[in-house]
């Protein structure tokens, strides 16, 4: 079933992420701390992109005189 396969794939990717960032060796609460820090930083980056990206794109297009 595709959902089970998808879940297995995601689980394998999460395991690789734990191994590469050495979170595999940390205790569960430390993993929670690191993951929440990472997600908050990434969330803030995405939000900033969402807020400012249209203005940046308009400025670039204005510079290259594609729009007025």
């Amino acid at each position: 079933m595709p959902l089970g396969d998808c879940w297995k794939h995601l689980s394998w990717f999460y395991y690789q992420y734990l191994l590469v960032t050495a979170l595999y060796m940390l205790e569960p609460w430390e993993r929670t701390v690191f993951n929440s820090l990472l997600i908050s930083v990434l969330g803030m980056a995405v939000y900033t992109g969402y807020v400012f990206m249209p203005q940046h794109i308009m400025a670039i297009l204005h510079y290259f005189e594609v729009v007025q």
Binding site: L18, L19, V20, A22, L23, Y24, M25
Partner: protein, 616 residues
């Protein structure tokens, strides 16, 4: 009135010229007691020509003859230069090779069979990710130390009592940072208790931990028949049945187990004499001496051989026992790059040319210390080249065959047998009985004068208890089996089985795509892991599949080059190796360990069809 003794040491140098280095000593009579000794500065001239070693002269060098070369008069005036006469040439340009291949090609005349070693370079992405992993662990380490310091978290490590907080600190907290914060987290991969004989299969005691490896509890269960890829059991003599074990039991009935004295006092049993004569016959040397502990053989005998005023040239990756012995001796120690003959030659030439550091006196003796097989790299020493260098520059050679004795060579006589050299070329042959003979202890073999000297002057002989009789009997029986003197072909069978197992195991691992270090013939197989989390994950996943492995990290290896080390044994059958290889492949896929970037023989068919499509 002083009597002057002039002793001249003739040293054969580059170009075959003999140069006499005079050592002048004064023996003063009572009237002239305080006459100062004059310091002799040794200066000599060398002609700076570039010389190419031909094949015939390389082999002549091996036989110790001096090479005759013509001198050009116009260049004879330069003083103190020691370049361009090396036996082994430096590469002309600095090349950055894709793999660190220690150049085997330039001196192929000294080797009877091809010497193929490889140490594939760490992939850049893997190195960066490994450093990132260590960085994250370090940050969390500081965080946990902070919590421990402010008593937010319970501190399990040793610390002083409240009343002693103002005293001089007893425990160095910062230096144990690595142990506390990194090693402790994956500590369950080491010190696993074993409850059976460590043969091809072993039983482990099951342990659980409730506080993340700070303390362990035994559940009472035993994990049975774990395939043992970690024991140094190269010839399979770690067994509790068979001829060796039977003979050891008989000896226990005759002599008991303890000796209760040192060799010098009343602990010299006739079984020790028999053992030493057998070891001397096995190695092909005049005489040998056996000690109770392999580590102590190195660390207690090197101080007896060298002292102040001597020079020890030791390989970069020598074992801790050799390093400890060299430091205890008080000699000057210089380190050459691992298995690198140009580096060794440069050090030898500088040592002979410049002498001791400030006084420029000649060194009393120069001792080159190398190992037969380096257990962390799986590399074999380039012994023919080392022997050629030692003969040319008149140095002594100390060969530590801890892992190679019994495991290399057509007759199992070690690395000297493997290269087909004369045992008399190596001045001091040291080895241990722990690895291939299934016992414990070490030996030193060499000329009779050397061994007689060591019997009186070695710390281990004077103060350490001698070897236990059943252990000595185990060595005697296993050595006789290897030599074939017990009348059966068991020894030859085991040697052949070991070399077949080694070749098969290494070839299969390389084909699977792992990065394997070392020589193709060495039974020690390091498999690179690199990332710190994979060290713990590999050990645990292999144990889940019933295979016991040894994983190694910092400080035994460089910080990013952590590895799993397999020791192939003659006791492993083909089925066991296949099971192990399958499990290793599975774990390698799970953990993404197949880093090797060399071409693999699979899927070439798909490539060629695509290419032909693109060309059209």
């Amino acid at each position: 009135m002083g009597v002057v003794f002039l002793r001249a040491r003739a040293v054969t140098l580059l170009g075959g010229r003999q140069i006499r280095l005079p050592l002048i000593s004064f023996r003063t009579s009572r009237l002239t007691l305080y006459k100062p000794r004059t310091l002799i500065f040794v200066k000599f001239r060398v002609a700076s020509q570039s010389v190419k070693m031909t094949e015939s002269s390389a082999s002549k060098l091996l036989n110790g003859e001096a090479c005759q070369r013509a001198l050009r008069a116009k260049n004879a005036g330069k003083n103190g230069f020691v370049k361009n006469h090396c036996v082994f040439e430096h590469p002309r340009k600095y090349r950055r090779p894709a793999e660190k291949n220690q150049n085997a090609t330039s001196n192929s005349s000294l080797y009877k069979k091809p010497f193929s070693e490889s140490f594939e370079e760490t992939p850049l992405l893997v190195a960066v990710l490994t450093y990132m992993g260590y960085g994250i662990l370090t940050i969390f380490g500081y965080f946990r130390d902070f919590l421990r310091h402010w008593n937010i978290e319970k501190c399990h490590i040793a610390h002083e009592r409240e009343q002693q907080k103002d005293f001089v600190p007893l425990y160095q907290d910062f230096e144990n940072f690595y142990t506390r914060n990194l090693y402790m987290r994956i500590r369950d991969n080491w010190n696993r208790p074993i409850c059976s004989v460590p043969g091809a299969k072993v039983d482990l005691v099951e342990r659980v931990t409730h506080n993340y490896n700070w303390t362990f509890e035994h559940t009472g269960k035993v994990v049975k028949d774990v395939i043992n890829m970690g024991s140094y059991n190269y010839l399979g003599f770690a067994e509790n049945t068979g001829a060796c074990a039977g003979a050891a039991i008989e000896t226990t009935h005759t002599y008991g187990v303890g000796v209760a004295s040192t060799r010098c006092e009343i602990g010299n049993l006739d079984i020790h004499e028999e053992l030493e004569q057998l070891v001397a016959r096995f190695l092909g040397v005049e005489s040998s001496m056996a000690f109770g502990m392999g580590f102590a053989t190195n660390s207690m005998n090197i101080p007896a051989l060298t002292g102040k005023g001597c020079l020890i040239l030791s390989d970069e990756l020598n074992h801790a026992s050799l390093v400890l012995g060299a430091r205890l001796s008080g000699s000057t120690i210089r380190v050459f790059k691992h298995n690198n003959m140009q580096s060794l030659e440069k050090l030898l030439r500088d040592a002979i040319a410049h002498g001791q550091p400030r006084t420029h006196r000649p060194w009393k003796k120069i001792l080159i210390v190398v190992e037969g097989i380096y257990s962390m790299e799986g590399s074999i020493v380039r012994l023919p080249e080392v022997v050629a260098l030692k003969k040319r520059y008149k140095a002594y050679l100390y060969l530590d065959e801890a892992h190679s004795i019994g495991a290399l060579g057509p007759n199992g006589r070690g690395v000297v047998d493997y290269f087909g050299l004369d045992p008399k070329d190596v001045d001091i042959m040291m080895g241990t009985f722990t690895k291939s003979f299934g016992a414990a202890g070490g030996y030193i073999g060499g000329r009779k004068e050397l061994i007689d000297y060591l019997r009186c002057h070695s710390h281990s002989a004077l103060y350490a208890t001698s070897m236990s009789p059943p252990v000595a009997q185990q060595i005697i029986s296993s050595m006789k089996i290897i030599m074939g003197e017990d009348g059966s072909t068991l020894g030859a069978d085991r040697l052949r089985q070991l070399s077949e197992n080694t070749t098969y195991f290494r070839r299969k691992l390389r084909e699977m795509g792992f990065i394997i270090y070392g020589n193709d013939d060495s039974p020690v197989v390091p498999l690179m892991l690199y990332m710190p989390a994979k060290i713990g994950a590999f050990g645990r996943e292999m144990l889940k599949r019933n295979i016991g492995t040894v994983v190694v990290g910092f400080p035994a290896t460089p910080i990013i080059e952590s590895r799993a080390r397999f020791c192939v044994s003659a006791a492993h059958t083909r089925e066991m190796l296949d099971t192990a290889l399958e499990a290793i492949s599975e774990v390698g896929d799970l953990l993404q360990l197949k880093y090797s970037r060399r071409g693999r023989p699979l899927s070439s068919l798909g490539w060629s069809s695509e290419e032909s499509l693109l060309q059209d």
